[in-house]
Amino acid sequence: MQNRRSTMPHEPEFPAAARGNTVVALPIPPPPSSGPFNHLSDEALVALVARGDDDALAALYDRFSRVAYGLALRILRDRALAEDAVQEAFLAVWRTADRFLIERAKPSTWILTLVHRRSVDLVRREERRRADPIEVAPHESGAETADEVEVRAERRIVQHALTRLPADQREALELAYYGGLTQTELAERLGQPLGTIKSRMFTGLRRLRELLAEEGFEAELSRR
């Protein structure tokens, strides 16, 4: 390895780099070591995570873990499995944040989609779906954090939007999303043709989106 330049003939000079016409090595300032992340948007946190800032990942976890865990638990009905699903989803966030960065999707959509996907895959693998629901105590711990207060505000909006959906659409969405049922299982369960189920899901999601927009749903848990 020593004196490679003198021993190797025809060594190229990498002219683009030498000219300073460089597309490489853009200096990236080091991330702040830790500290208050509260003022940062979800997007900013994801950007820090993409640069390997584990404190930013912790902050993102603190923002979304309660929603994520609630969702996983609702689908999986098993605490250990729900913990697995949440952990794997956040590890995926950690590992793939740099790829996500170039997208314009909301971090909350991305994170919760990861949690949901992982939970649904686990529940199908475990075939626990038809087990009796476990009772989940809604509030086990004392004071609500500011994030939890915000989650509660978002929850009210979603709940209200759901009440404005036609009942058959709402039923299809809830069975699919919280129950982890496939569309084929859904058709069987509801005794409807597959085409009907597909159109209920499609129309239902579209309508839900409109309703959420009307009600100012943001799913952005950073400080506003």
């Binding site: 190229p12 990498f14 993409a50 609630g70 949440v86 956040f90 995926a92």
Partner: protein, 236 residues
């Protein structure tokens, strides 16, 4: 399944209500269907709002501690701490992380990056291969000229490029690796760059004395070098 049937799967995919087989078909379809990709983004946002309707207990504090311990023991693949412990990357942990990310593979998010699910998956395999190479204790490291990083070559002549702070290739462009054994540069793989650190396995072996270099080419890559060489290293 014909194309109009595939269009019909978008809401079910947003709700994760497809069988695995259908999911694969649909994700493949997404690669070529702008309409479905756009639709999916919209519907996925509405679907994930449903998560906020769930009222559950606070996750146990051990979960947070466990997650952060795992995170801290395995830097993301793009920032494997090469400088800290020379090539002593815990390969098993890194590979486990790669597998975990693959298992919850992103629907749309991986796509626009690599333009196809197939290349995304092969990119993950290449990444796993690259991690194996850089974590091989018998591998030799040849520092790059023109950029901050190295070419790592195993005794079996498998090679990986590691480069720091490489800006992502501009849209419509890709980085392309070349191995020149003295006759002509031969293509050895494409990558995108971006992030703190890029690690990519070369698709061809690097014999002693060969020059490994990188150029910027049009997306999809080229068979013959057209762009200027940006950086590289010669393997001994």
């Amino acid at each position: 399944m014909n194309v109009s049937d595939l269009h019909d799967l978008v809401a079910a995919h947003a709700l994760d209500a497809l069988e695995l087989r259908e999911r694969e078909l649909f994700e493949r379809h997404l690669v070529t269907c702008d309409r479905c990709r756009g639709e999916l983004e919209t519907l996925q946002e509405a679907a994930s709002a449903l998560a906020f309707d769930v009222e559950g207990p606070t996750p146990p504090p051990e979960l947070r501690a466990r997650l952060l311990a795992r995170v801290r023991e395995q830097q993301p693949a793009s920032v494997v701490p090469l400088a800290r412990r020379r090539w002593a990357v815990p390969a098993a942990a890194a590979l486990a992380a790669a597998a975990a990310a693959g298992a919850v593979g992103l629907g749309i998010w991986g796509l626009s990056l690599s333009r196809s699910l197939e290349s995304e998956q092969s990119a993950r395999r290449a990444e796993a291969r690259a991690l194996e190479i850089v974590s091989d204790p018998a591998a030799t490291r040849y520092p790059l000229r023109g950029a901050d990083g190295a070419i790592v070559v195993t005794p079996a002549r498998a090679a990986a490029l590691v480069v720091s702070r490489l800006a992502a290739a501009p849209s419509g462009k890709t980085y392309e690796l070349w191995v020149d054994r003295g006759d002509a540069p031969r293509p050895a793989g494409l990558f995108r760059g971006g992030g703190d650190r890029t690690i990519v396995a070369l698709e061809r072996p690097v014999p002693a004395g060969a020059l490994v270099s990188v150029s910027l080419e049009r997306a999809g890559g080229v068979d013959r070098l057209t762009g200027p060489l940006l950086f590289g290293a010669r393997a001994a």
